[in-house]
Symmetry: D2
Subunit: 340 residues, 4 copies
């Protein structure tokens, strides 16, 4: 019979709670022993209901517990690196939300520590586990579209985040497009070498005032010559728009949005279908479950995690290149970021 895995969760905001619930209801053989949060009081009832043993305001109660095997880091981005390093030193396996950090040299340091400690490390790029994108990935890997020529990613949110969040998020490229940069790498199986970003403030002038853009088109060049393009918007009134297309020498594969139902109503005015699922919690519901199942499988069977440290580093580099490209109005090589 399977050995039970015991974990702790640092940070019980929306995503921390989501992981806790998914693990409780969908992953047999894993016990959440401790959850730490700076607002520990506010999560007590929730934790009791889930059968979580302990709630603490100090994350060290997790890292110092010898009975805990792994830790989920779901706190704010600026705390990730510190917690990962401490967790690695405590020999805990780590699942960390994206982005690992906004600073490339810090991420490198983190990865070195993780490596040294020999613990498992997975980054929360959940979209790789989405049924649609995984299918595209598999079709590409099976050679069904031949050699990829063009990769297109559409990624639009239904609403901009609060302005306070925009200001500390690192900007659209590091907060929002970073998922798309990961997707580009996942689908192509290849690294990005050059980035050109075109951006505009079309949704909300306040976003512009805070130094960011809300609409962007990002052209990518991959090391094998494939071209890519991402289009982002902070606000699609019809909901969460998440589509990809990979075009190659032998064909083209696309995925469209998921909808709450397949119902189509034909009436005197038009033929009407449902809007896409509203936002990431609905759209990527199952992918969040799959990613944690994969993490625990890697632990249990001592396999490589499906989203590694390098997978955490590379999208940040692409994001920084996009940021520089927008600022300097020229294509920027990813090697420029690495040599900075």
């Amino acid at each position: 019979m399977q050995k039970q895995i015991t974990i702790g969760i640092i940070g019980a905001g929306r995503i921390g709670k989501l992981h806790a619930e998914n693990i409780t209801y969908h992953v047999p053989g894993v016990k959440i022993k401790t959850v730490s949060d700076i607002y520990a009081d506010s999560i007590k009832d929730w934790a009791v209901n889930l059968g979580i043993e302990k709630v603490s305001s100090d994350y060290r109660d997790i890292l110092n517990d010898p009975g805990t095997d792994a830790v989920f880091i779901c706190s704010s981005t600026d705390t990730h690196s510190r917690f990962i390093i401490e967790a690695a030193k405590s020999k805990k396996h780590v699942f960390c939300e994206k982005p690992v950090d906004l600073d490339v040299s810090m991420i490198k340091k983190v990865l070195k520590e993780v490596d040294k400690a020999g613990v498992k490390f997975q980054v929360g790029f959940n979209r790789r586990f989405d049924h649609n994108f995984k299918k595209v990935h598999d079709i590409v890997r099976e050679g069904k579209i031949g050699v990829p020529h063009i990769i297109k990613i559409t990624s639009r949110d239904p609403e901009p985040p609060p302005l306070d969040y925009v200001k500390v998020s690192g900007g659209i490229f590091l907060d929002m497009s970073i998922h798309d940069f990961d997707m580009a790498r996942y689908l192509s199986g290849c690294e990005v070498t050059e980035v050109f970003a075109q951006g505009a403030v079309l949704v909300d002038p306040a976003i512009g005032d805070s130094g960011d853009v809300d609409t962007a088109i990002i052209t990518l060049k991959f090391e094998n010559g494939t071209l890519g393009v991402i289009d982002n918007s902070r606000k699609a009134v019809y909901g969460y728009d998440q589509r990809v297309e990979v075009f190659g020498s032998k064909g083209c594969v696309t995925v469209s949005n998921d909808t709450p139902s397949t119902a189509v109503l034909s009436n005197e005015e038009a033929v009407v279908a449902e809007k896409p699922k509203y936002f990431f919690l609905e759209r990527y519901k199952d992918s969040y479950i799959e990613e944690v199942i994969s993490f625990f499988d890697a632990l249990r069977y001592d396999k490589e995690t499906p989203v590694t440290g390098i997978d955490g580093l590379k999208p940040v580099i692409i994001g920084l290149a996009a940021k520089k490209s927008l600022l300097e109005r020229r294509p920027v090589k990813t090697s420029e970021i690495l040599s900075e």
Copy 2:
């Protein structure tokens, strides 16, 4: 805080196990205390893993337990009536798999006992809880298609059941079409008054030899004048085909099949999409969860169950009318079955 509900499950075949797992993982506040099965030994490991307290070979261990509030009857059809009546007498609420019974007078007797005991009673017509069909139902109820004129139901299985099962199933109309008869009532909100069934043996001659058909078209007439048609096949090589259409004075609503992903591959030969989800366990996964949640909500808040005893009776009457129609090669009124 919610009062805990304690239940027992009679019969741990495929569907009994499914309910047990759904309740364990998806319905907070419900405890499965006992599972009974004639092959009790074979389910022990499974039960332990789910945290079920007790496994018994005697269903009376459930019905006689004063700490048990409700019972799920998932045993073979020929035992349903007896178990329901005994459960009602023991003042247990009852969730019973479809069909309640193949005999109309027996169902009537069962409903009388349930009524007398004042317990809740729900029949397992899970498709009413499917996201697609529920949406069609809601669109019809909201008047968006006006007055219904034509209801069309396509329902085709990927594979015929084993021949042994076909022989005891009561025939295609009582085993398979019965879900569609329930759907017809659910979507129309109206009773069926006349049935004409046309059948053929086109899939497997052995099905014909056992006295059944494997392909059928059933025309329905509803009491408000609406017309309906169901087409059934025991074998659709492309998978589980489950679609409905309601056409009315102000429009038409349709639902198509669900697929594992929205991926579409265009290549030199064609434009290729995924087949429908394979069979009922995949297709109706969420509906099985929703139906038990609804049952427990009815218990907890003392509401009417969403699929009542009458909803268990009526489709059997329609099924028997279809059977008679096929045999006598003429349209049969449902009132003929009632007066038999």
Copy 3:
């Protein structure tokens, strides 16, 4: 170089004019010499503009002209038989609009005369030449769905015809469903042996008062065992609804409606597409061209016409069986109609 074919057209109502225009603009090598119409004066300008030589109020000016090779009979149904017989006797090839006649023995007499004269004869079942239905036909013929088990035809008009027309049309089965009976034969490649019709008056009570129904579901049994079902309505508010589905041992082929464009608008309310093309002139535009091209090809290369006299007779028999079925509330064999 191709020999020029010279024709006359009897009857210049909507469909006669349509054929004249299609032949003029789309069929090289055919000359429309004469058009006859009882309201000859009203069509003179139209005829001049099309370059038609002669307009007459007497159809015999066409039949008696030795320079005319073929005649299109586009007058009212009650004149068809007489004109076909006279044309055959004058050794003119005949293209006749559907239905040939409402009387089976008269059609048989007509076909005998046509046969005796040795002229070509084609009936105007234009839907066989529609790109969608032709594709379904081809897929079925190529064996791609295996042996057909179920044929489903949806055929709904956007508006009922004027009540005066309803009264003389022969009823919904001979006026409207007759196209679907032809389609059933075309797609199955097989004859219908039994018909059960269920009808209702749901669109307009005045249609009921005139002795007809406006909504119908017709179940068909084919001689090879295949089952079929047609659903008809005189009024689909969203436009002309023309779909078919053939389900068989190796798969299922469906066609959906054509739309004016593929545009899809996603907005705050819904995802909105265009309604089907409005009515038969838009939807079947190209099929009308293809059918006359096929007719002239049959003349030019001395081939059998693609829609023969038998193809004109059989749907009328099915229509009469449907009418009898509705009246007598029982399934009716097509052989009953033939033996009357």
Copy 4:
């Protein structure tokens, strides 16, 4: 009654013949008096069959004919400017195939001469008349998607042109993408101010050897701040891929490809639909008819042509900016091209 318009056609290659046939069969009231071609002999039979009066090897037979009202210039690109100027001086209205010229100052000179002569002038950007793109245009104009934020154009050919043609075509941006630049202006109703082109040779190395690319992603910035992106490939194995998407503050409109039929085959392997219509002659068949009808309407009712001289100039400027961008690996402003 309408005055007859008499025209001549210079150049009877594929596109010249197409216009001649469309005018003959679909545009009443227009007479093609003369066709000139350097290989006059080879087109005589074709011309006779179409009822064209005169075939000449000298285009001046058209321009010098006082009875000719307008001329279609369908010869090779390098002859366009000269023929337009001469035609304008001869007071003939001009329909000219795209591109007008590859040289901006020459186009300006041409437009000045056309203006001076006061003749009508239309450029052959036929895609504006396509049912799908016209619908997108109308939806955008009606404000249904609000203010446009992102315009996406996918345009991929089924096969690269012959290498000899690639060499003289002016390159992918002036030969192929030029249609997309026109589409970008048509859909946005706004001018492009900046272009960034990323290109690659992924289809055929010989195209690279001839100094061109065969795969491209072009980012556009419009003067109102809208962003745009075009992706091009010389070879999509599944056929002609022509889609657009306009995303804005109130919604998003997309069009997908047209297909020969709506048939969908579900079988044991997959759900299979038809490929897009093969190439521009099938896909844009009706748009070629609509564009000439519009031209003759402009002549007849003295209206502005729907695709003016400026519409001929601007896409060439964008194409030259794209070329420069690819060469210099930087975004290029369209004003740079104008000031050269």
